[in-house]
Symmetry: C2
Subunit: 378 residues, 2 copies
């Protein structure tokens, strides 16, 4: 009997309770009933974002919310600093280029994060930059950026701080307001345990004057329409009823667990994963790792494409390979959202099994027992 | 016991089979399994669109696909003719204006449709128009446009014909290729019986040179990325796994019914609705009505906002009121997608009941018996 386990960095596993909420009979989106649900989901999102600003729901995946951030604040010719330390940092640059911005790209080795010193230097050298775009949790490498410290710099400048928090929301504590982030975006299919199709965006007060004046063409992603409609707890266009209901249930489950417990669970899962991989002699890619996904360098001679295919097709355990130039060279274990210690043991066991079958020599069982001890050893 | 009936022009009722498919355990979007599903859904969409071109799936509601059409073909300054005979015709103009096109708006009385003569005249007077944007089934008025005849004109010209088929796909036979439509868009939450969150777009071969050269900024909605990824049956960004699975089940159900039977069912539901309303002395708004929704003029002195609220809150039967300047003045009965004759009798009964309670004088029962006879009288 092969079960389907997903340890992917998105979409992630979705609890049956959330799937069944998604499957509720349809209601119309222009009803007080749906507005009540939107209001409720909006409150939950504000807590996850750490903001008093409204968090808008975009029907679209995370990239739609990223584009919403750029299209609403940056116009052709505006200078935009994009930190490219992975696939999703590169995406900021691609979107800004699509909008004919004058991008200044900061290329870091994949697995590294923008340092606060470098951020300070960049902001001094480019006082005319309209925005600095960074990635809180870079899903392609598993590296964490110190958003809090970088925001303490941008909040003293005219440069807006735009943050991709797609795989950090629901995994790491995020404090958009306290830190001073200007725009934060996220998506449903990561820490939030909901199928893909929803993304989220919030903007700081000072951002709105840019949103009002941006010359970039936009309609579906126009935040002015989102704000106007959100005042009545409505979406500008047809509301994604079933996914919003799924989100409502997921938020309820997250609140039942308690946000502090939820962040602590992710911290423990990440620590156990890292220790387990090191216990069988493998190196981690990220020097400052996130808690939602762990990137592991493959042993010499092992193609991670083969590893992930074997795990998925033979054991039913899906993890991710590398993206871009890291394709074949790393594997990524997602442990965000609906993942507990028991699940992680299953995953680590499957990784060991596949590595062994592919010819890697190591003490079979060392990773599983390390994870087991760290998770359940008290 | 109050059940929830939706006779709305979108979102529409979703079969339990489709809801349960949507609730299937998640799979990852970059897997052969999901590519197979996408391929299968793509084949079904091609049949509904009447095209050999690929139909791309956009994670977003219908408006996202409409914007995809404009952003990929029209650049700032391009002349775009927009036919505004309802809220969704107006949307074409709003999107084209957002993209700084030089819009030429053709305003028709709501409920009217663009005539072929008028289309011919417009195309001769504006040979420089990049596109003519029309609405096949105008949901806000229930009026049908003769796309086939208009396409026979545009296909001889350089002007592209862009068609909103959001509430006609799955309701009316559509022949994108045979008619010569250049871009056609639709959405999941109408005739397709799937919750909101997916939209669809296909482009004719001659459209691609415009897509390649459009200067409008776009990223999430870039059709070049859609085409490139579709070759591997992938989506450019995270695939909307659960909604695509719902779509697969809905297409299966539509094919089980048979497309000819499905179009015939909609024709009969629409005819019965129109006859039922006329039987109690009410007038219809559209002179050339669609088969997915029927717009009915309210009797003097009756506010349709009150009518629809009473029906929804007291009987559990949701229909729609009017939009824009028709708010309060018309009501709209949606009979598209997962609606059969039995359902329609429920709806007409509720309409009669609400009209009577609001003081309209008519022969109580005349609408229900008319619909019943037309649907089941053999």
């Amino acid at each position: 009997m092969k079960k389907n386990y997903m340890f992917t960095p998105g979409p992630t596993m979705v609890p049956a309770e959330v799937l069944l909420s998604e499957a509720s009979p349809l209601i119309h989106h222009r009803t007080p009933q749906f507005s009540d649900i939107l209001k409720n989901v909006g409150e939950g999102l504000k807590e996850l974002f750490g903001t008093e600003e409204d968090v808008y729901i975009v029907t679209g995946t995370g990239t739609a919310a990223m584009e919403t951030a750029i299209a609403n604040t940056c116009s052709a010719g505006d200078k935009v600093i994009c930190v490219r330390a992975g696939k999703f940092g590169e995406r900021w640059a691609e979107i800004a280029e699509a909008y004919q911005c004058n991008t200044f790209n900061v290329d870091l080795e994949w697995g590294q994060s923008l340092s606060v010193d470098r951020a300070e230097k960049l902001l001094s050298e480019h006082p005319d930059a309209k925005a600095l775009c960074i990635t809180h949790s870079e899903t392609s490498t598993g590296a964490l950026t110190n958003v809090e410290s970088i925001a303490s710099l941008t909040s003293k400048k005219d440069t807006l701080l735009i943050v991709d928090a797609i795989t950090s929301i629901g995994v790491h504590r995020v404090e958009m307001d306290k830190w001073g982030v200007d725009i934060m975006v996220s998506g449903s299919q990561k820490g939030c345990m909901v199928p893909p199709g929803l993304s989220f965006i919030a903007a700081s007060e000072r951002t709105w004057k840019h949103i009002e004046s941006s010359a970039s063409p936009r309609y579906y992603l126009d935040m002015r329409a989102m704000r106007k409609n959100w005042r009545k707890f409505q979406t500008p266009y047809t509301g994604p009823v079933s996914l919003v209901r799924a989100m409502q249930k997921a938020l309820e489950m997250m609140n039942d667990e308690g946000l502090e417990n939820l962040y602590e669970r992710h911290r423990r899962l990440a620590e156990a994963t890292r220790a387990a991989m090191e216990a069988i002699g493998l190196d981690l890619l990220a020097s400052n790792p996130v808690n939602g996904v762990t990137s592991v360098l493959a042993p010499t001679g092992i193609d991670t494409g083969k590893l992930t295919k074997k795990m998925r097709d033979e054991y039913g355990v899906t993890i991710a390979g590398g993206q871009g130039h890291l394709k074949g060279k790393i594997f990524r274990i997602g442990h965000m959202g609906y993942v507990n210690g028991e699940d992680l043991v299953v995953c680590i066991s499957a990784v060991e099994r596949a590595l062994k079958e592919l010819g890697y020599e190591f003490e079979f069982g060392a990773a599983v027992s390390t994870a087991h001890k760290m998770l359940f050893g008290g």
